[in-house]
């Protein structure tokens, strides 16, 4: 675990250590951004606890370098339960679709493949009915990842319940 500290820049490298952010109540806002993620990070886990919005638009995760990237993703998320189906996503990593009444729990794990290419896996489920979501996605960033955004596909639905946190390592 090569811990490197700088008097001016703080932690330069802490590879191998899990660092948890502070859980954020997802009870307002159309998106929640976690910024200033250190450059040495190679894996980010986004944690959803009973997260809900006031609309039916799919919940997505976006990543970025300097600013959030809103296009160019490749991936699919599928649901399974009483029926099955799925959607492809190009504007983010699909976390879950559904109704305003749904509360989502689970994780989205985003790993550095190399050369600023990030690959994600998704595993979430609803509390209101027997549906689970599985997915995968990838995105090549133009630079080092420094932010993660949790939002919806339409960008205008508002979070109204639950909490979200990230782990980075």
């Amino acid at each position: 675990m090569p811990l490197q500290l700088s008097g001016t820049s703080g932690v330069l490298d802490n590879s191998g250590a899990f660092i948890a952010g502070t859980a954020v109540a997802s009870t307002s806002g159309t998106s929640i951004d976690f910024t200033s993620i250190p450059s040495w990070v190679k894996r980010v886990t986004v944690i959803f606890d009973s997260v809900s919005t006031n609309g039916t638009s799919a919940k997505i995760v976006q990543i970025g370098s300097g600013s959030v990237t809103t296009s160019g993703y490749l991936g699919t998320s599928v649901y399974t339960g009483a029926s099955t189906g799925g959607s492809t996503y190009t504007t983010g990593i699909g976390i879950a679709d559904g109704s305003a009444a749904d509360n989502i729990m689970g994780t989205c794990v985003i790993c550095l493949l190399g050369s600023n290419t990030w690959v994600a896996s998704v595993c979430t489920g609803r509390s209101s009915n027997a549906y689970g979501f599985l997915g995968g996605a990838r995105l090549a960033l133009g630079g080092t990842l420094d932010r993660v955004r949790i939002t919806t596909a339409n960008g205008t639905d508002t979070f109204d319940a639950g909490s979200i946190n990230i782990l980075y390592e």
């Binding site: 954020v24 806002g29 638009s57 099955t84 205008t156």
Partner: protein, 56 residues
């Protein structure tokens, strides 16, 4: 509409009002996503195929 921004190093939390440009970008993003979604007819056909499979 606003977004919540959390700096993971400092823990500072800010609420930022979306600009008109950001709202427009969200609408463009949504149109792109919608265009990829199956039509109602396609979804019904898929569900019917699943029902048929259960009955065989």
């Amino acid at each position: 509409m606003n977004r919540i921004e959390i700096d993971v190093i400092t823990g500072k939390r800010e609420v930022i009002e979306l600009t008109a440009q950001e709202v427009a970008q969200a609408q463009t993003q949504y149109a792109e996503w919608l265009a990829l979604q199956p039509t109602k007819e396609e979804q019904i056909a898929k569900l019917q195929a699943q029902i048929d499979a259960l009955n065989t």
